[in-house]
């Protein structure tokens, strides 16, 4: 499989849902039939609004959510891991190689542990190091890479600001020497001046440690800046995917266009150029048949309005995929 690190093949994730104990069991279609390939060393962006299924997909790739159908393959150097067919031993191995950075650095760190213990915990749990000395060495090493002082290691998380805490979370995720990182809204809780710092750090670590990222975010301008490839999700489907420059310069899907125009412009003279989308994202309990976006689409065609066009990506330009409803 050469240069791909992760292949996601026809993955769907459903959750069972029952409103109360006498009502009928229903299925929430959180993620539907997703196909993506994440290249080694790439910064893959996943954007979408809340409820679009981006976090569920990220967790499914990490093996933290059950995959209902399809499979995810992790192409390691020596062997491939199939996430849907993994024994406990494999899962342990996989967890060393794929890690998660959370959104909220205030909630993700235990207030009762020192920074050193927080960063060292994965090493101890996964039994990667054999002696305390070795653990300390690796903790110090990764802390320095994440620009934390040795003196910081003795302190507790409450003594740190948001940006510093996020650096601690990053150090904790990287200490097991993973190859693949899912960063789920990792800069969303930070102030802009700090956000830029963390983004630069993630970029720098990527080249230093040969990392591959799946970067989940709702902020298109952030994604446009750091990612090489971007997939736009809506209601459990990828509606458009492509190299980030191409996608942001030349968006094809009406949802991508609307999202881009909704970013408030920093120029006070350019007011209300947003393509206003009516209404809100429909419930994933009963998504509209056919194109899922048609209930909010600003310019629906006659065919798609009836829900007659099925969801499916078409390659309009090399590497640039658009859902067929809007591509036609």
């Amino acid at each position: 499989m050469g240069d791909n690190l992760i292949s996601v093949n026809n993955v769907s994730v459903n959750f069972d849902y029952q409103e109360n104990f006498i009502s009928k069991k229903q299925k929430i279609h959180a993620v539907n039939n997703i196909n993506i390939k994440i290249k080694k060393g790439s910064f893959f962006g996943l954007v979408g609004e809340s409820g679009s299924g981006k976090t569920t997909l990220g967790r499914a790739i990490l093996g933290a959510n059950k995959i209902s159908s399809g499979n995810v393959i992790f192409h390691d150097d020596e062997r491939d891991y199939d996430l849907t067919d993994m024994n406990k031993q494999d899962l342990k191995e996989y967890r060393k190689k794929a890690q998660l950075i959370f959104q909220d650095p205030y909630a993700a760190l235990s207030p009762r542990m020192t920074v050193r213990d927080i960063i060292a915990e994965p090493l101890e749990v996964m039994r990667i190091t054999s002696s305390r000395q070795e653990t300390d060495e690796r903790v110090r090493d990764i802390a320095a890479k994440c620009r934390l002082n040795i003196e910081h290691l003795r302190r507790f998380p409450h003594a740190f600001s948001g940006g510093q805490r996020q650096r601690i979370s990053i150090a904790r995720a990287l200490v097991s020497n993973p190859k693949f990182i899912v960063a789920d809204e990792s800069v969303a809780a930070l102030d802009v001046s700090i956000q830029a710092d963390i983004l630069n750090l993630l970029k720098q670590l990527q080249t230093e440690l040969n990392l591959t990222y799946l970067f989940i975010s709702h902020d298109l301008s952030v994604v446009a800046h750091v990612c090489d490839v971007v997939a736009v999700m809506y209601l459990g489907h990828i509606v458009e995917m492509g190299p980030s420059r191409e996608l942001f310069k030349n968006p094809k899907h009406s949802y991508t266009k609307a999202l881009l125009s909704s970013i408030p412009s920093i120029d006070p003279e350019k007011r209300s150029e947003a393509i206003e989308l009516k209404g809100e994202i429909p419930s994933a309990l009963n998504p509209p048949p056919g194109c899922v976006f048609r209930t909010r689409c600003p310019n629906p065609g006659v065919d798609c309005k009836g829900g007659e066009i099925k969801m499916g990506l078409i390659e309009v330009e090399p590497g640039h995929w658009v859902d067929q409803c809007c591509a036609l």
Binding site: S161, G163, S193, I194, L199, N200, H225
Partner: protein, 329 residues
Amino acid sequence: MSHLLEVKNLDVKFDTDEGRITAVENISLSVDQGEVLGIVGESGSGKSVTAKSIMKLNPGNTSYNEDAEIILDNENVLQFTSKQDLKKIRGGKVSMIFQEPMASFAPAIKIGAQMVEQLLIHKDINKHEAKSISINMLKRVGIADAEKRFNQYAFELSGGMRQRAMIAMALSTMPKLLLADEPTTALDVTIQAQVINLIKDIIKEYQMGVIFITHDLGVIAQVADHVAVMYLGSVVEKGPVNEILKNPKHPYTKGLLQALPDINNLDAPLSPIPGNIPSPLDRPTGCVFRTRCPHHNPEGKDGKIEMKLIEVKPGHWVDQCGIKCGQNG
């Protein structure tokens, strides 16, 4: 003409176990009718504290300085002590929209009942009239089947809908001043665009004054007429929105703009402002921004230059230390 709201030399201090914290220092602002004042700054810069002072909503350990004045409609709010007086401002002349609408509605009381309750307190009307005002207001903010929503609880509404209901509730008493504290931060961009347009329409329609607090400079560019940039409890720069965003003078304002990823210029590097915002417990003397300032001049670095806004162009005020540093950068 006198301003609708005028804040003069306001200091806000909190007494805590660790000592007295200066949350806001020497702030002067004004808002006219039909005007939107945007307050922008990072977390901990004192934006919300300033807004809450206007309604005297800060907690019991707060102390205001004696010579501060918050003049709303020719009355000094800071002098108000009786419940009767405070009631006039809280929800009467001034309404507030909060960031997280789920946290600001009572979860176990129907939305309609909450709207009616506040109308009965502030207006001399009966329940029936209050209900029809509320339903009309819900319709005005774009909520479909307002009658049905009126009888629902906050958890039954989606995020965007809840924020609309919050706006309807804040506006139903026809306040003269609306305080919007990060009203769109918890929303998705497409919903944010809807809510921003709604707020702009409503301001035009009712001609109220608005203080719009946000950390997002893009949102500020879209809604505000004037902007005040706050850092660690002080206003470091203020002026007309065009002037501040296109011709910023203070290194902090410049830094904020440079740290913002711009979708139209993907080649520009993201430049963070170095360091962290200091704890309000050890607030720097002199220029508050000097510990992080990339271009500080020697005098500013020692904290010898006091904070003082100077008018560099008509209506555009910049902190005096910032003018000097800004020239170097």
